[in-house]
Symmetry: C2
Subunit: 158 residues, 2 copies
DNA sequence: GAGAAATTGTCGTGTACGGTAACAATCACC
DNA sequence: GGTGATTGTTACCGTACACGACAATTTCTC
C-alpha cells in the first residue's frame, strides 16, 4: 500500500470530492425553492414529528441553539414553519410545519432524487445497490446519527 | 423508487455526509503539522512539478488568484514553499517546494492513509476495491479534474 | 412556598472569510 | 513605441459563525 498515491486513488479523498460536488449541485437545485440543504434537512426532520422545542430540534440535528433560531427565522419568513406556544413550557416554542411546507417537501425530495439519479448515471441497479450498501456500512461507523449531516452550516455548498 | 426515502438511504446524502466527516477528521489529523487540507492539496500538486506561476497553479486547482496568494503566504511563512523570480517573466513568481516540505509531505500522506484506513475498517480488501472503483467512475463524470477538490476553501472542515 | 439555579430563546459583538474592484509592474502585440 | 492584457497584491465590503450576555420562565432545594 504505497504512501504516495495520487488523490484520485484515495477513497477518503473521492468521498470528500464527490460529497462536496453533489452537495453543491443539490444546493443549486434547491435554490429556486428559496431554501438551502440545511433547511431541507430540518424540514425532513420535522416531517417525522412536529411540536418539539427548538432545543430538542437543535440537539437532534447536532447544531447550536442559536443556529436553530436562524434556520427557523428563515423557515418562518418563508412560510414553511411556525412557532406556537408550547403547551407545557411557556419559555419554549413548539415547532410545526405549515401546509405550504407539506406541499413543498415532496418537490424538494424529487429534486434530491433527480440529483441522485444524475450522479449515479452510468451505474446499473446492481452497482447502485452495492454502492449504497457499502456507504451505509461506512456511515454506521462514523458515530453520526442516521440522516444527520455533520456540516449543517448555513452554506454547505457553493 | 419512492420519493420520501429517509436521508440515510440516499446515496448522494451519504456521500456528502461521509465526505464531510472524513474531511473534518483529516483536518484534525493535519492540524499539528500546521497545515490545512487545502495546503496539503497544493503541496501534492507542487510535488508533481515545481517552478510554475501562481496563476498556473490557481487554474490547475480551480481557485481564484487571490486565494492562491493566501495559500502561498501560509506555506511560505510555514517554510514549506518559496517564491523565486520567474526566469522568463519578471511579473510572475516561480513556486518551489522547500526541503522541509519534502520531509513533511510523506508524513502528511501517511496521515491521509491512516484516515482512510480508519474510515474503511470493516470492509475487506475486495469490498474496498469495489468501493474505490465505483467512486472513481462517479468522479469521472463530475467534470472535476482528477485529484482536484471543488471545495478548496480555507477551512474545508470543522 | 420562597429563593437559587438552570433552561429557553434571543440579541449584540467581534472576527474571519470569500468575492469584487482597483492598483503598480511587466509583458505582448502590431 | 505605445496600447491593451496579464501577474501578483492590496483594499473594501457584505456575510456568516462563535462567544458572551440577557430577560423570561421553569425546576430544584430547603
Amino acid at each position: 500500500m504505497p504512501e504516495n498515491r495520487p488523490l484520485g486513488e484515495r477513497t477518503n479523498f473521492l468521498l470528500s470530492q464527490l460529497g462536496f460536488h453533489t452537495a453543491a449541485r443539490f444546493t443549486e437545485r434547491l435554490a429556486d425553492l428559496g431554501i438551502h440543504p440545511s433547511h431541507f434537512g430540518l424540514l425532513m426532520h420535522l416531517s417525522q414529528g412536529e411540536g418539539r422545542t427548538q432545543q430538542q430540534l437543535a440537539e437532534a440535528l447536532g447544531i447550536h441553539r442559536k443556529v436553530m433560531v436562524g434556520l427557523l427565522d428563515d423557515l418562518e419568513q418563508r412560510g414553511l414553519a411556525e412557532r406556537r406556544r408550547h403547551p407545557a413550557d411557556r419559555r419554549a416554542h413548539a415547532i410545526f410545519l405549515t401546509d405550504a411546507a407539506r406541499t413543498l417537501l415532496p418537490d424538494a425530495q424529487a429534486r434530491a432524487d433527480a440529483e441522485e439519479e444524475d450522479l449515479l448515471t452510468g451505474l446499473d441497479s446492481a452497482e447502485r445497490r452495492q454502492l449504497l450498501g457499502l456507504l451505509q456500512r461506512l456511515a454506521e461507523r462514523t458515530g453520526n446519527p442516521r440522516g444527520v449531516h455533520p456540516g449543517l452550516r448555513r452554506h454547505p455548498g457553493r
